[in-house]
């Protein structure tokens, strides 16, 4: 890879701008493709279109065009994990999630909890969850987890999350707490199939006890949902329960 192209790639990654590296495997001809344009060597239009599709699919692949093979290598911004509640479980999530490729933001307007001493490595957002969620705008590469147990904080976050394409929405709380929560969110106008997107009780059933174990269960569930693992596929009846 030429240095100029490498620098452009790194600049795009630093700016969290999706960009694909396209390489002709026969000779190493190379270009950067984003939604708006291209930089580098000439690339056939069909390959440019395929690179943009690879970006949307977030999947690296080889395509053949006019007898030549091209490698399409998308570089999307990091996955995001948005946590509501700067509680002990959030500390475990903040420590583990970056290893799995997530950039972590912790929302908590309670300054007593949300200190950089407790969360040295994450972005802290001390706005109220409705305001913070509107600003953060979770997308289909985002996971949202509420941990406060306080409906004043959790409910507005979940209400907002359900109006986004977030690929994972989880809410800490017992089955009873969760049922009450679903009733409140239904009163806000969310349909049962929308509410079924919320994973609650949150996390895979690994009999987690300590805060880091619960964080592990939550992250395992997030990975399982993202990768389409069979163990998290739920029957509609169960999801609606």
């Amino acid at each position: 890879m030429r240095r100029a192209l490498f620098d452009s790639l790194q600049a795009a990654r630093a700016a969290k701008r999706p960009v694909a590296v396209v390489t002709r495997l026969t000779d190493g001809a190379q270009a950067l493709i984003d939604e708006a344009g291209a930089e580098g060597d000439a690339v056939p239009e069909a390959v440019v279109a395929a690179a943009r599709q690879a970006l949307r699919d977030d999947a690296a692949r080889v395509v053949e065009h006019a007898g030549e093979r091209w490698f399409l290598h998308p570089h999307n911004p990091p996955l995001r994990l948005i946590i509501v509640g700067a509680v002990h479980i959030a500390q475990g999530l903040a420590a583990m999630a970056p290893l799995l490729g997530f950039a972590v933001t912790v929302i908590d307007p309670r300054r007593f909890f949300a200190t950089s001493e407790r969360f040295p490595t994450v972005t802290l957002d001390d706005r109220w969850p409705d305001e913070a969620m509107a600003a953060l705008a979770p997308d289909r590469r985002s996971a949202v987890v509420t941990l406060t147990h306080d409906p004043k904080l959790d409910d507005p976050a979940l209400d907002a999350a359900l109006r986004t394409e977030a690929f994972y929405i989880g809410a800490l709380g017992s089955r009873r707490t969760h049922a009450a929560r679903l009733a409140r969110l239904a009163a806000l106008g969310h349909a049962p199939e929308t509410l079924a997107r919320i994973r609650g009780p949150v996390g895979l059933a690994i009999e987690a006890v300590t805060a880091p174990e619960i964080a592990l269960a939550i992250l395992a569930e997030i990975v399982a949902v993202r990768r389409g693992a069979a163990l998290v596929a739920r029957a509609p009846a169960e999801a609606a329960a």
């Binding site: 890879m1 030429r2 240095r3 490498f6 790639l9 790194q10 990654r13 390489t23 495997l25 000779d27 190493g28 977030d58 999947a59 690296a60 692949r61 080889v62 490698f71 290598h73 998308p74 999307n76 990091p78 996955l79 290893l99 799995l100 490729g101 997530f102």
Partner: protein
Amino acid sequence: MTEETEDVLAIAGRWVAEGETVALATVVETWGSSPRPPGSRLAITASGRLAGSVSGGCIEGAVAEAARAVMASGRPQLLTFGVTNERAWEVGLACGGTVTVFVEKLA
């Protein structure tokens, strides 16, 4: 899709800034069981530093050897390792899969 615990490109960039000669190896295709998905990267310097991976450790040695030739010539190489390739037995792709790796100089 290939979130990494280490930012291989950032490390490669630092090495270049330090004056190292650097090659990048990238998994472009896999068949059967193979430990690292397409897009996985290994950065190698002429002085022998490594970051990232293109397999579970089975083929890194052979890729590093090819990378030395790529760094010397400046010409990229496309390498294939797998059970149909005698070379694979030598370097031991024990998982039984096949993997294609593109090796290029960062110039």
